[in-house]
Symmetry: C3
């Protein structure tokens, strides 16, 4: 089924509006192209509604937020909701500063997200802080392991039910859940954490996948997560002994570029809980 999700990205070539941080923006643009979609980056409040309108999906990443771009995120998010465009939130660093946590929570209040993708700490910061998610027990561990996997899955499902978004928690094991069903994905390679922005890249790519598959947000997000992890494996397989994290960064994007829907279908390692 991941195959169909990916085929739709390649055949529909959706245009994705990204309001994202300046650290990893170039890699986000290139990976969106690599997977078969097209990126536009624009973050001024006076144009984001226009740009959102000509696109089919929106990716909001708060990585280097500031007062100017926060306003733009809200405007673009609401416009995307109005137009029924899928919207992805990457709450980078939620929990690390009051501004980030509050901005992420405000976005959750004012914008309906299709997918929220972050690491376990970021997702917990949202789940415990959000008034709309009161009652979600965010007291899960800070690292996902085989031992606590069921707890994290339950947490993800509960947060999905409250937020009405697909929740993608990425780490050693990735969990992509709606309120009823969770994909536990075991692709990836530890070295991916040595490249800045693999999470940002995944969020941008997730926006492409859910936009190309509007009726299957859960499966589309899971396919994007599996594609990223599988790309990390393929890329690692190319590593020469003098290669380091900078070459690895290139190889990951290259691997998405060369991945076929068939290869993803075969390479994806997951179970449903």
């Amino acid at each position: 089924m991941f195959r169909e999700m990916f085929e739709n990205v390649r055949s529909k070539n959706p245009l994705i509006h990204n309001i994202t941080n300046y650290v990893t923006v170039n890699d986000c643009a290139n990976i969106v192209i690599a997977c078969g979609a097209s990126p536009i980056m624009a973050d001024d409040k006076d144009e984001v509604a226009d740009i959102t309108s000509i696109c089919s999906g929106l990716n909001i990443n708060i990585g280097t937020l500031n007062s100017r771009t926060i306003q733009s995120m809200l405007i673009a998010g609401k416009k995307a909701n109005e137009l029924n465009h899928p919207v992805v939130l990457d709450p980078v660093g939620a929990g690390a500063s009051k501004l980030r946590t509050e901005t992420a929570l405000r976005l959750l209040e004012e914008v309906k997200f299709t997918v929220i993708r972050g690491n376990i700490s970021e997702i917990k910061a949202l789940a415990s802080g959000s008034s709309s998610t009161k009652g979600v027990d965010a007291d899960v561990a800070d690292k996902v392991t085989e031992e606590n996997l069921d707890d994290v899955v339950a947490f993800a499902k509960a947060f999905s039910e409250k937020s009405e978004a697909v929740i993608a928690i990425t780490g050693v094991i990735d969990i992509v859940a709606d309120s009823k069903k969770a994909f536990c994905i075991r692709n990836g390679h530890p070295m991916m954490s040595s490249v800045t922005g693999t999470g940002c890249q995944l969020s941008a790519m997730t926006a492409a996948f859910v936009t190309a598959n509007p009726d299957h947000p859960l499966e589309a997000a899971a396919a994007a997560v599996a594609a990223m992890g599988y790309a990390g494996e393929v890329a690692f397989g190319r590593m020469d002994k003098m290669d380091g994290n900078s070459s690895y960064r290139n190889y990951i994007i290259d691997a998405i570029y060369n991945m076929t829907p068939e290869k993803l279908e075969k390479g994806a390692i997951y179970e449903v809980r």
Copy 2:
């Protein structure tokens, strides 16, 4: 003749002020160095006049414009005009939002540009919107092909006459025209559109070329366009079966770094219309 244009970049090593977007800025800096010039990036209104003054040329790219940087573009553009420095405009996304179209048009009104480089849609958005270009028939096709090439050439010449800038329209066939003469350049590779910012990179490099060849803006711009296309071919020739758009991005810049004026002269494929 492209050889001499390129030789002058390498021997004069001009310093180029870039006000450009944060998506592709690193690649722009590296390609400016690769071709033999030196980049400075600075976009605050309180320093752009100073920075323009110590440079020899200016590149304005509206890719991630905002109210703060628009002001800086106007200040820097006017200062460059005052100092008789060549100025390149890359109207990224003109036509895609009101803000972009209006900003590009305002820049055209208030700043004299040496070269305007964009794709056919962007250039059409400028030509049809600009009061100073009224009378230019922008009703050409949205894609340049062998069939409509003469029409696009005529359009480019007319817009050049009105705007008093060299017009560089890049795509499958590139057209670089002043009011009387047009270079139709057939270098390049389709995969170049899989790398974000090859257009931005070309505009930055064009600023280097016209700055090093102030008496030959048409030929200098055409040489830059041919160099970029030829680099795309050389880079593609290096591609390994696991390489994708991220490696290709590196190879294009590498190809400019290793290109000699002689190789450009031999590799350039063009005719004059």
Copy 3:
């Protein structure tokens, strides 16, 4: 001794707050990871105090400063001082515009820096402009050579005494000095100047080194400078005939990733004056 400095970065994995320019920010993040530390990029005045507080060190780079980020640099710098965190200043382009020179000087007045790293022109602009450094003879040459090395060493020591910061002047020969002792480092490769931001990367890495070695700022900064130069040599050794400055950029970061403390100890070429 450089070995111990590097070992501490790898074992302590310090979290480094970077307020830096958008040109080279991605490379800065990746090289900080490559050397064994972790980067956070954040530049909004409403969150920099929070972010500085959860980090152990701070790197301030004025490369694409603006009125908004200047404020953030001051807030973060003061907070870091309050918390006794090491702070590195990279005065990119000091001397090139009034805004840059004045901002760098203001930062020097209001923030206590552990290390100031720049090229000779930038460091001279600070030394001659700063009221707190009056009496430092900045009338040294604009290029460090074997002939004027003793003069530059004396200048660096004098500026270190006045500024109470370790001074790192990088170029063909690198000088890292406190008021009494200077390391003259002869690692590096001329091609490093063909990659945008090797200086920025070094400053970010220096912050990691001094943070992991709080009692040895001079030796830690010298180790970072030697590591960068040595990486430039190792990376050049990998260059294929089609490789250019873009591949070289990747290879430098890769070389830091693969460098061991032992290799640095053996590869470092320096003398103490």
